[in-house]
C-alpha cells in the first residue's frame, strides 16, 4: 500500500511539473512575453524545459499506472530510483559550481529529497514473490 501511495503521489507531482514545464516553453515564446520569465533560462533553457516536460509526463504517467497496478511494471521502482539518484548527483555538482549560486541551498535540499525518495522506492518496491502473486 505504501508503495502505491509513493508511486501515485510522486507520479502526480511529476505529471503536474511536466505539464508546467511543457507549457512554460510556449509561455516563454508566446506573443508579448519577450522571453521574460521567473528564471534566467534563455531560449535554449526554455527548449530543454519543454522537452523535459514531455519526459516528465511519460515518467509520471508510468508511476501513476504503477500505483494502480504495481505488478504491471516491477522494474519501474528500480529505474525511478536510479534516475532520482542521477538527478541528485546533478544537483550536488550544480551546487558546487558557482554558476547556480543564485539558487542557494535549494539544490542541496532537492538532492537530499531525491536521495531519500530513491531509498523509499528501493525498499518499498514489491518483492518478486509479491509481484508473482499479484500478477
Amino acid at each position: 500500500m505504501a508503495y502505491r501511495i509513493l508511486c501515485g503521489a510522486s507520479g502526480l507531482v511529476m505529471l503536474l511539473l511536466g505539464v508546467g514545464a511543457f507549457v512554460s516553453f510556449f509561455l516563454y515564446h508566446g506573443p508579448g512575453s519577450a522571453g521574460a520569465g521567473p528564471l534566467p533560462i534563455g531560449p535554449g533553457g526554455a527548449y530543454y524545459l519543454g522537452a523535459l516536460g514531455c519526459a516528465l509526463v511519460a515518467w509520471g504517467g508510468a508511476l501513476v499506472g504503477a500505483a494502480r497496478r504495481p505488478a504491471a511494471a516491477p522494474w519501474l521502482a528500480s529505474v525511478t530510483a536510479l534516475a532520482l539518484v542521477m538527478n541528485a548527483v546533478v544537483r550536488m555538482v550544480a551546487w558546487v559550481v558557482g554558476d547556480y549560486a543564485y539558487l542557494g541551498d535549494v539544490l542541496r535540499v532537492e538532492a537530499a529529497v531525491f536521495l531519500m525518495l530513491s531509498l523509499a522506492f528501493i525498499w518499498l518496491k514489491p518483492r518478486p514473490v509479491e509481484t508473482a502473486r499479484s500478477a
Binding site: A81, V85, A88, W95, V96, G98, A111, L115, M116
Partner: protein, 83 residues
Amino acid sequence: MRIRWLVTLAIAALLLLDLYLPLSIIGRRGPEGAVRLEVPTSRVAVGQPFPPARLIDLDGEPFDLASLRGHRVLLTYERSVDW
C-alpha cells in the same frame, strides 16, 4: 537482498556527502561568492568609475579595490573561480 543493501549504502553515502558539502573545501563559497555578493554589477558601465568593492584574495584575505586607486588595473574575469 544484498544488492539492495549495497545500493542503500551508496545512496546513504551520497546523502552524507550532500550534507557535508557546505563544510568541505570545494563547497566553501570563496572569491567568486564574494564577488557576486559585493560588486554591484548593475552600476558597472563603460566610462564610469568601477564601483567600490571589498573582495577576498586567493589567500582568503580581504582586499579593497580602492587600495589600487591611482594605479593602472587590469581586471580579468574567469568562469567559476571556486570550481
